[in-house]
Symmetry: D2
């Protein structure tokens, strides 16, 4: 059940990345500087290699906007790819940790390049743009997101020197959310489930947590008691109880695995010959956790925007605001 | 994108729990003993209180089956509730850690009983029955699931004595999966995302992991190299690379928070008076991690069965098997 | 994109028909007399045979309701089947005009009874019950439906005498609808498309029309001009322009084919022997157009209720009403 | 339940129309000449005005293809708009028969141009391109479509001279379909319902028929008897029985209303002043039934391709073919 539908397309070295967002209300100002700023955030972070600096992504919006505001029609967003000519060479050695093996079996590709081109994290750029549109919508209701990432720069430096890579943990926080997004009435409407899907499906994410990891805690330690005036003094629940937002800050954490493309290459086999070889190396990032956190912030925004639209209805920003005020007031 | 659609209904003290499964193939033998056995597994585990023993759930299948086999028509499953008369009393003090607060705000319920009745984990019984049907389908392809739970019985005993509760970690493993369930081509088709949603939306689950938690590991330590014959010697990826199954055992872990209903009650406020009170106590389990793992096994089965149906198509079990053999052979 | 999800189950001679409705708001009074009254309307009409009188359907609601009102939880509805023991015999001769041939090829059924049992129009009883719930919701906003059917009783009598059958045309009208349900922004959001699907998928319906059939009319004759005060003097558009309701009465028409089960039997072949035989005769209705119109009214209600929920949002009836008033006022 | 997901975007005078197709198999050759040929067919037909000749649409495929074949990744298709500068002027008089009134109320647009730009039939160009991709897939299985339209050129000429417009009836036929696409097991899986939605949601279509309109026919006249060898001598059912294809040619008919934009203008009111005015005239087609039939052929192709993918599964064209052969053989 989604009111906000999104499809994305685009390859790592193709002409462009494209997204269509269907279901956004009319009357939302699409601040291109904000959207491009989110793209810039994604390209930064300690441990990134050379390509990121080259990209310098900016969006072009080709549909769904008139006079700078959404019209209610589907929004088409395009990000051009630069440096398209490099790195597009075929290869046949499965890179461990990547989609190469399963993807080539699934789709019948002999040239693993045909898997890599779409499986690449390059596609998260357009997802960040989509999430930026969702964030612009959320901001209209005072809902804002931020991220932090645990970065051990010494270990990143060590990894870089060794030709190795490192993952890490990040945290997304959204504040200003109303009570009651999501639901307990049906399993697939639980907002924690939707958030987990959104974050776990980011390339390289292997762990998702909502709030404090309760492992080893007694109930008397973990649960967030309620005091006079409805005040909570703790937020171990991360803002979600019973599959719904409870008005406290939403806290979603993720753990990213180390980037599987490494200068110190991994053992693998060639898909054609079956012979042991060393995995092909295309990119040279050492750590991309900060970028990943920006992608997670974007993904979470899409879930929250959709839940806002489901709960408050409306076809224009004004109508949603009126409905929202009716509940709040 | 789902081929297997499921809706469930039912309250904790209502007449019955009901599920309808739409999209299951014809010709699958519905082994009631297996289904009821799964329900029994859910009712066991160290740390359970009194109610579980009373329930002793069994299913009744009222549609979609002829001569013990599915017909392709929607399958309706019913589990009656026993001991319906107890415990159905109204209450107005929000129980921290439960759906009470957000649920009553969302739906406008004054009597929090109207939230509790559906938010209760009682509804996971019918989800286990649905998952058992999915498991019967998977078994036809040699795909089988199992669970384990980290149970520290001493701490459970201590919690019980103190009127406190304890959560814990569990692990679901499925073996025999083909390569290429899920996909990297679109974010919402990643099987790790779908699995995370399925497990995180189980009441009380706050953490989901696929395979080994990579936190702190270098790429050279974490990634599962491929050796001659396509053999892997490690499975840190938990059977998922690039959002797809890679043929290794699927490993999904979850962490359950401590049950929020405790004899040693939590501070809260009354929704009517706004006054501080102590939370209402209905159930008396100390730890339900083993039950939770059975629910997780069921939920994962539903995702896997759906992905099998999406990949291999077919309207009868024979047709799916033929298609499956064509890929395997 | 649906906010109101419905699954149904049940066979013609099974224990019961079941539906689960997920996504209905809390606080709606479920008037059982109205629901049962709709079921009774479906069982009437000129040209019906004996079985209809036997059925005398009534619903039992097993979940989703407390104190006579919906709680926001999924609603489970059950209709028991009477006279279950008759007519359940196997058969192998494809009945032309029925699902027998294609259904048995699709699902691999040797006994065509396994197709008939679900393909039978018996299942429309539970669809009428679901539609009655949707109608109760619509009534809260002053939206009401009615039907009429072109019944030529002399031709029905003649058909009956000859062992033949007759179809016919029916019309569903809903009044009180707000402007702007549905949308032009994406093909699958056009309300006329959704209505056409809802009505065309009723067993035996082969034609759907919205408003006046424009065949042969010039633009100057057909289009509904707008006069001072926004008044229309005609409604050829049947209340839909640009894929949206325009505030005029919604008019949806359908043509039902003659019932394919006839005493004067059709030529066919036996699926096992391949030999020419005459088709098996189970039921004895001559004309079911009036029943079909009641089913159509129910189906249309489901589309309209879903569109109301999508446009106005809300989790309780009060919230939807507040949002609705905000738009209207 | 869809395996093939499509979103489109684009305005009548915007930079371009865009579509993303998600779920198409890998290995399908995308014949650009065929796709562009379908676009050319849409631009022809007796009764078209000047704009059509100017457009001369051609597609650009920016993602999802490598070496001329699909890769399994989402396919992005773009059609540029020519003559973008003309005709983009604001207006405030509701055009009867268009989305102007309901669309402006729904989305809060003061300038009706913001409705027109997306509501315009211009967007059907990209839908024809999407349908052409679906047709290329279907052709691999020997499934081909054709259309015919009832064109009374004398009446069109008379309408043109009078500044009036004319609709008409068209027919789409697909041959080569396997038995058993769609299903009787759940209302929303009936293929006739899906086809009706696909065709009724085309701008200006008000009637959809499957096969022969049965109005007034007796059962003994209408139903398609089955003879030795499974042969049918008639196809009144239009290839659909029980919500499924039955192996006979699929026949879907539609009636298009007269184009509501007429030189002989309609009475209406101005949305700002409320005063009676005459409707704004932008385009000058007299009859677009032939174009509409091409759009219908495209839309039907999308439904059929999706149903093929649902029934036969598979991620590459080879895999679908193998599964298909298994059923056929």
């Amino acid at each position: 059940m989604e009111k906000l539908r999104v499809l994305t397309a685009g390859e790592s070295h193709g002409e462009c990345l494209t997204a269509i967002i269907e279901g956004m209300v009319a009357g939302l100002e699409l601040d291109l500087d904000f959207i491009n700023g989110e793209l810039a955030r994604r390209q930064q972070g300690y441990g990134r290699g050379g390509r990121m600096k080259l990209e310098n992504d900016t969006v072009k919006i080709t549909s769904g906007v008139a006079g700078g505001k959404t019209t209610g029609a589907p929004i088409a967003i395009v990000i051009g790819n630069k440096n398209r000519d490099n790195e597009g060479t075929p290869f046949t050695a499965y890179r461990p940790g990547h989609a190469d093996f399963a993807g080539s079996v699934k789709y019948g590709h002999e040239d693993l390049r045909n898997v890599l081109e779409r499986a690449s994290a390059r596609k998260t750029a357009i997802e960040v743009a989509v999430g930026a549109v969702a964030q612009l919508f959320l901001k209209e209701f005072g809902i804002t997101g931020s991220v932090s990432a645990d970065i051990d720069t010494e270990r990143i430096d060590a990894a870089k020197e060794a030709g190795d890579t490192l993952g890490g943990k990040f945290e997304v926080v959204y504040t200003g959310l109303p009570v009651g997004l999501g639901s307990y009435v049906h399993a697939d409407r639980a907002i924690d489930g939707r958030l987990a899907q959104a974050v776990m499906s980011i390339p390289a994410v292997k762990v998702v947590e909502i709030g404090t990891n309760p492992l080893g805690m007694y109930g008397s330690e973990y649960h967030d008691e309620i005091f006079a005036g409805g005040v909570r003094k703790t937020n171990n629940a991360g803002g979600v109880e019973g599959g719904m937002t409870n008005g406290e800050p939403l806290v979603v954490k993720g753990v990213m695995k180390p980037i599987p493309t490494m200068r110190k290459p991994l053992n693998t086999v060639d898909s054609k010959t079956g012979q042991p070889v060393q995995a092909f190396v295309e990119r040279s990032d050492t750590c991309a956790v900060e970028a990943c956190s920006v992608v997670a912030q974007a993904r979470v925004a899409c879930v929250l925007a959709d839940e806002m639209l489901l709960k408050f209805g409306g076809d224009s920003l004004n109508e949603v605001k009126k409905n929202y005020a009716g509940v709040r007031g």
